[in-house]
């Protein structure tokens, strides 16, 4: 310090004080101690013991936290959830409905540290997509369901009773399902029937696709004639990925987005998009007429389900099971389906829907018949290595890396 001290006396005194505070052995030791404490605290973040389910306090605690996706339950004009209110009245369980799931990956990233320690994640039940449920079950982050509390689980449609990731539905039960297909703006563009139509010159820069890898790459693979539910190879996946990369780099694809892709359709940035079936019904409802048409692409659509599961640290398992049982009543399931426009997994809901609206019961996107289902495939479960490799390649395109 050979620079002259500033004029300001306050600063002079502060600097003088700072100079006096030399690094003594004592302060050095204190510093080391603080560093060690911090290190010990930092080390606490990594756990790794055998997980066991939390003790169930449902009998004394009549509350329940349910985490779900946006626009995924019946809602009235005042923002209330009619079926949920009826449930609270009937069972006296106070449900805290949390719209906190916006994306499977980011939700998992938010709660994984607590899950790894077996702690309560603030949700007693959460609805996640098949492949993510697969990961939770494999990591031991779920509690097995007590089917004695869910007698209505017998209403589950046969096709969903034994998925690859949870045979016999020990840990999970479906909430809603849906298709990923194509929607196009009927006023602004000609008919789009297949994925290859999206690459038409007149749609340059006006195509949107989903950031959910299994849906976007899934429909491209189906277009290529690959069975995504079968044992496809890495080459077949990469062939679809190459098509995707070409279309992103050429600017044909305007944007790759999550649930917010609907905004692009509404403001006209995109005229056609790979999208989820239920959303288009809602968009048309908001527009007041059928402005967008949803089609199952000629190559085939992907079919997915979101499933209830009970996280390992939830102390209100019985309450959660009571809720699941309630939603497996055909009448309740029909009421929800009529609002969310997704496929209900409950047998008998179609019959119940006729009572609400006969036209609704005919809607193939809510109550698909065997022909419609034959046009769709479920993306097969990926091994952890495949998941990592494919996801990294897909994300690299999104990051332009």
């Amino acid at each position: 310090m050979n620079r002259p001290l500033p004029e300001d006396p306050m600063i002079r005194s502060l600097i003088a004080q700072a100079k006096r505070a030399q690094l003594s052995r004592r302060t050095m030791l204190a510093g080391t101690g603080a560093g060690a404490t911090a290190l010990a605290l930092a080390a606490c973040t990594t756990g790794g013991t055998e997980l066991s389910p939390a003790d169930d306090i449902s009998a004394d605690d009549k509350t329940l936290n349910w985490a779900n996706w946006p626009f995924y339950i019946d809602e009235d004009d005042d923002g209330n959830y009619p079926t949920l209110l009826a449930f609270q009245e009937e069972f006296g369980i106070d449900v805290n409905y949390l719209v906190t799931v916006d994306d499977n990956n980011s939700y998992f990233a938010t709660v994984r540290d607590q899950l790894a320690l077996g702690q309560d994640i603030g949700a007693d039940t959460v609805c996640l997509t098949d492949w993510m449920v697969n990961r939770w079950i494999q990591l031991g982050y779920t509690q097995p369901l007590n089917k004695d509390n869910i007698p209505n689980a017998a209403n589950l449609v046969a096709s969903l009773q034994n998925p690859q990731f949870d045979p016999g539905r020990v840990h999970s039960l479906p909430w809603q399902g849906g298709f990923a297909g194509i929607a196009y703006n009927v006023e602004e563009t000609a008919e789009v029937r297949a994925v290859s139509d999206l690459w038409r010159p007149d749609l340059l820069g006006r195509v949107g696709v989903l950031s959910e890898m299994r849906d976007t790459i899934g429909v491209i693979m189906l277009e290529n004639g690959v069975d995504i539910s079968g044992d496809f190879t890495a080459d077949e996946f990469n062939a679809a990925l190459d098509i995707f990369r070409t279309q992103v780099e050429s600017g044909q694809i305007r944007n790759v987005r999550g649930n917010a892709y609907t905004e692009d359709l509404v403001n006209g940035d995109t005229l056609a998009a790979i999208c989820w079936s239920g959303d288009i019904t809602v968009l048309n409802f908001e527009a007041g007429y059928e402005k967008w048409k949803f089609v199952l692409p000629e190559g085939g659509a992907t079919l997915w389900n979101d499933n209830f599961l009970i996280p390992i640290g939830s102390p209100r398992k019985t309450n959660a099971e009571t809720l699941i049982n309630y939603y497996y009543q055909p009448e309740v399931a029909a009421e929800v389906a009529a609002w969310v426009n997704y496929i209900t997994p409950v047998e008998g809901a179609q019959e119940a829907a006729i009572a609400i609206d006969p036209e609704l019961a005919e809607n193939q996107l809510i109550f698909p018949n065997a022909d419609t289902l034959a046009q769709s495939k479920i993306f097969r479960g990926l091994t952890a290595q495949e998941e990592n490799e494919y996801q990294a390649a897909f994300q690299a395109i999104l990051l332009g890396a």
């Binding site: 500033p6 300001d8 006396p9 306050m10 600063i11 002079r12 005194s13 003088a16 004080q17 006096r20 603080a34 560093g35 404490t37 911090a38 290190l39 605290l41 930092a42 080390a43 973040t45 990594t46 994306d103 990956n105 980011s106 998992f108 990233a109 994984r112 340059l204 820069g205 006006r206 950031s211 992103v248 780099e249 600017g251 044909q252 305007r254 944007n255 790759v256 987005r257 999550g258 917010a260 403001n267 006209g268 940035d269 952890a384 290595q385 990592n388 996801q391 990294a392 994300q395 395109i397 999104l398 990051l399 332009g400 890396a401």
Partner: protein, 303 residues
């Protein structure tokens, strides 16, 4: 008031501070504790994470190691995005200064005789803060949308070709960054200009300084501290920003910044070591840059 206590009686104050004060240490304890818990601990945790290696047994988990290659890998993979971030942040800082300085000058000096207008203008600078940053950015996305007014005019005069759009380009991202950080640039400069003694400008004029010379030799040096804090307050957050460049807002795959890369690695790929390494590199880069900048512009102004 504490300031006047210091300055009025320097001689008397010195012996008081010289005494090794246990009380002072005691008063500092909550602050130190807070720093250890919420700064030092996460930082160490981040450093440990950045050196982790994949668990050989459980896929997708990581174990503590000294895997420094993580840093080499992320630099190689995401070098382009890192350079782009620095470039975008520099551009945004430049444009924010270009817009913010005249604005601050106008409010702080031109409007000084009219206190009411001055406060009103200040409110106008601050008012956007009352609306969420995300909403404002989304609003720009709407304004720039293909069916929107701006794109309509630009394509009718042939600037935008078919299939081209404003959003998702370097322009829209730098525009968004500039727009969002203008108040951070304007307010510190305003704070220095508002206390500028106008008699100094008159003196410059009396000494035959042209307005430009007076500005260069009097106004600019006297507002240098504000310009410096303004550029730092703009550049640092802009370099790590992941909203404007996000695909959900004004960006696209071509405009990815380092913040988006870190976000994807943390939340989607769950490659925590890579994300941690990138975060630390970003922190280090900004620290070095700021240190050089502060050193070169002289520390006196900061004091």
């Amino acid at each position: 008031m504490a300031f006047t206590a210091f300055s009025s009686s320097t001689a008397a104050a010195e012996p008081v501070v010289r005494r090794k004060s246990r009380v002072a240490l005691f008063l500092l304890l909550p602050g130190i504790f807070y720093l250890i818990l919420f700064f030092v601990t996460p930082l160490i945790s981040l450093i440990i994470t950045s050196l982790q290696a994949p668990d050989p047994l459980i896929f997708g988990q990581f174990v503590n190691a000294f895997n420094w290659q993580n840093y080499a890998i992320v630099i190689e993979t995401y070098g382009e995005q890192a350079v782009r971030s620095a470039g975008y942040a520099a551009l945004a800082t430049f444009f924010a200064l270009l817009i913010g300085f005249p604005l601050a000058y106008f409010i702080g000096i031109t409007l000084r005789p009219y206190p009411l207008l001055q406060s009103l203008a200040l409110v106008l600078v601050i008012a956007p803060f009352f609306i969420s940053f995300l909403l404002r950015t989304l609003a720009w996305k709407q304004i720039f949308s293909t069916e929107g007014p701006v794109s309509g005019i630009l394509s009718s005069i042939g600037i935008l070709g078919p299939g081209e759009s404003i959003t998702g380009t370097t322009f829209s991202v730098v525009f968004g960054l500039t727009y969002n950080f203008i108040p951070f640039m304007t307010l510190p400069i305003y704070a220095t200009l508002v206390s500028l003694d106008l008699r100094l400008l008159e003196a410059g004029n009396d000494l035959y300084g042209s307005p430009a010379t007076t500005f260069r030799t009097v106004t600019l040096p006297l507002s240098a501290a504000g310009v410096m804090s303004g550029t730092l307050l703009t550049f640092i957050p802009a370099a790590g920003d992941y909203i404007n460049a996000s695909r959900e807002f004004l960006g696209s795959a071509d405009t990815t910044m380092i913040g988006n890369v870190i976000e994807t690695n943390f939340l989607v790929l769950q490659n925590f070591p890579a994300a941690a390494a990138l975060s630390l590199l970003l922190m280090g880069f900004i620290l070095v840059l700021v240190a050089v900048y502060v050193k070169r512009s002289g520390t006196e102004e900061l004091l």
